[in-house]
């Protein structure tokens, strides 16, 4: 499972980096989204991968070894919300730039 997750993060991040280096604004925003997925998976992986373990303590069983670390899950949740909001905001600016410059080049000019 570690290998699959690592490969997924790597592919997402590599595609994202390639896309944000492209000249079109739409490619940049897709690239940023892909990087954000990669980062979210990465944060989750940093809490150690566990199968079939709950993050919330149960009153009957108070042994921490039986549970998955809840902190990275909380971090990922926050990161997803913030990343989503920022992407939406970026989308608006992208549309404004498209309207004002008449093209979708990141520098606002056709080459």
């Amino acid at each position: 499972m570690e290998l699959i997750l690592a490969a997924a993060i790597g592919v997402l991040a590599a595609s994202g980096v390639y896309l944000i280096l492209r000249p079109r604004t739409f490619q940049v925003i897709i690239g940023l989204s892909l990087i954000s997925y990669a980062v979210n998976l990465f944060i989750l992986a940093m809490g150690r991968l566990r199968m079939d373990a709950a993050p919330i303590l149960d009153g009957a069983n108070a042994n921490p070894a039986d549970y998955v670390d809840p902190v990275p899950q909380a971090l990922v949740l926050t990161a997803i919300v913030i990343g989503f909001a920022m992407t939406a905001l970026f989308l608006v600016v992208l549309l404004a730039a498209r309207g004002l410059t008449g093209n979708d080049h990141v520098d606002g000019k056709l080459d």
């Binding site: 940023l32 940093m46 990275p72 971090l75 913030i82 730039a97 520098d107």
Partner: protein, 529 residues
């Protein structure tokens, strides 16, 4: 003591209340709306002064610690207001009040939602300075960035949207780097509390050390992007010079958040660490600081418009601060803290001043000044005798004095605060035993001061001696000139009170450089009083 801890959250709550009040009272009359917002900024300033006074009157090892929701410290989020944070919060509050006063004259009506965004930016800045939790720092960063995206677009036009596009893209990437760094640090130390990270670092298993260092380096890159360090600063001059002047003035403190985060975490974790971690990344900080100063000074020389010049001065001060952090000596740090106050206030005043000069000066005069410079004006000898003894109109005189004071502070010439801070840094660097780094440090400070002086004098001659119209100078609005004069007067005051101020900053720096003190204050705070 109990009351003290509660003050720590007020600099965040007051701007938040201002944002909410602005949203709820959306259809207030414009005049009362402006008054309401100024009142909120004044309250914020009073709270910040209170926080600083309370901390300054007690001994130097005290900090107000506020566990949010009363969760025990390493598990819950905690706000820590030590003297460093209190100084930064006060600078933010002063600058935000000045910029708000300036904006209330006319800039706030150039776009929608200026006041809520402005207060949200202040709240994010204060939160970033006060928090003692790494992930909470990320959240406050995002908060201030989200507000700054909106403010960059304020009064929009084509150039602003283009600049904002780049600014948002680079900051989104920086945020992802921030998250990667935080995740790696959490994976290796098992905590997000800054003091707890400092405690846990010596206990990291040797196998995980590389991972932790990588996390710290990635996090450092994210902070360096915010701080405007070379080569990660290319977004800065364009964004700052295209932003609305009051917004750019408040942005002057935004690069200082990066500096603050580096200073706080680096001194806490690496500066005095034992073993291989000792001063991890120090050379990188020094080299980047030198490169940033060099780039900023040369950029300042090459800029013809005052807004671009001010943006490059921001880079120069960012480089100076990085260099001072990298130097890793309490004396240099105390000089740097003095410098950060003076340079931030002066840079904010300069951004506002640029707008006032734009109003005095007709646009064609500025173009003329620029083209004169390009084509050379040797043939235009002053043949008119009254040209020499021309008296400047009243408003223009005040503006030119403000410009001269800002130039003196930025270039670090005596007798003003820029000189005091550079003198303090250089004398502390020499006093701590000169090494090769010391000479680079001194050369950078003095050389950048000289280049900045040349750039400022050249621009000043251009604006005030060759381009000012002889008559018919438009009146400068009082509401616009008062904040500028107040900011510069504070800088002058800082120079007059240099003795007590330096003593205060020396204690602050001593506290920053003994991370054990910070941990001792934060970690035992199990529950709120």
């Amino acid at each position: 003591m109990a009351e003290l801890n509660h003050i720590a959250i007020l600099p965040i709550l007051v701007p938040m209340a201002a944002v909410i009040a602005n949203l709820l009272l959306g259809n207030l009359r414009p005049v009362s709306r402006v008054r309401l917002n100024i009142a909120f900024s004044v309250v914020l300033l009073l709270v910040s002064i209170l926080l600083l006074v309370v901390l300054a009157r007690s001994d130097g090892n005290l900090a107000a610690v506020y566990p949010l929701g009363n969760w025990p410290v390493p598990f819950g989020i905690v706000l820590v207001a030590d003297r460093l944070a209190a100084v930064m919060v006060l600078v933010t509050s002063i600058l935000s009040l000045a910029a708000l006063l300036y904006a209330s004259a006319r800039w706030h009506s150039r776009g929608s939602n200026f006041f809520p965004l402005f207060h949200a930016l202040t709240m994010g800045l204060n939160g970033a300075f006060l928090t003692g939790d790494l992930f909470n720092l990320f959240v406050f960063f995002e908060l201030l960035l989200a507000a700054s995206y909106g403010l960059t677009l304020h009064g929009g036009g084509r150039n602003q949207v283009k600049a904002a596009l780049h600014y948002i893209a680079i900051n989104l990437v920086a945020s992802f780097l921030f998250l990667i760094g935080v995740a790696l640090i959490y994976a290796t130390t098992g905590t997000l509390n800054m003091a707890d990270i400092g405690r846990a670092v010596p206990l990291i298993a040797p196998d995980d050390r590389g991972l932790f260092d990588a996390g710290a380096a990635v996090l450092g890159v994210a902070f360096l992007i915010k701080a405007g360090s070379w080569p990660l600063h290319f977004w800065l001059p364009r964004t700052y010079s295209s932003a609305a002047p009051p917004v750019a003035a408040l942005f002057a403190v935004m690069t200082k958040v990066g500096f603050y985060a580096i200073l706080r975490l680096w001194t806490l974790v690496f500066a005095n660490a034992s073993g291989p971690e000792l001063a991890f990344g120090q050379n990188v900080l020094l080299v980047l600081g030198l490169a940033t100063i060099a780039y900023g000074s040369i950029g300042a020389l090459s800029s013809k418009a005052l807004d671009r010049l001010a943006s490059y001065l921001i880079l120069v001060s960012a480089g100076t601060l990085l260099l001072a952090v990298g130097y890793n000596a309490p004396g240099v740090t105390s000089g740097a803290l003095y410098y950060v106050v003076a340079a931030t206030l002066a840079a904010g005043a300069l951004f506002l001043l640029k707008d006032v000069i734009d109003q005095i000066l007709p646009a064609e005069a500025q173009v003329l000044a620029v083209s004169l410079e390009i084509y050379g004006d040797e043939e235009e000898a002053p043949d008119d005798s009254d040209e020499v003894s021309r008296t400047l109109p009243g408003a223009a005189t005040l503006v030119s004095w403000c410009f001269a004071i800002a130039a003196l502070i930025m270039a670090g010439l005596p007798p003003l605060s820029g000189f005091v801070s550079k003198f303090a840094m250089i004398s502390a660097a020499l006093g701590a035993g000169p090494t090769a780094a010391t000479w680079w440090f001194i050369a950078a400070l003095i050389g950048s001061g000289f280049l900045v002086l040349v750039a400022m004098v050249r621009n000043g001659i251009n604006i005030f001696w060759t381009s000012l119209p002889d008559s018919d100078v438009p009146r400068v609005r009082t509401a616009e000139i008062v904040p500028i004069v107040a900011l510069l007067a504070l800088c002058v005051l800082l120079a007059l009170a240099a003795g007590p101020a330096m003593a205060f900053f020396a204690e602050t720096a001593a506290f920053i450089h003994s991370p054990q003190g910070y941990m001792d204050v934060v970690l035992p705070m199990g529950t709120a009083p």
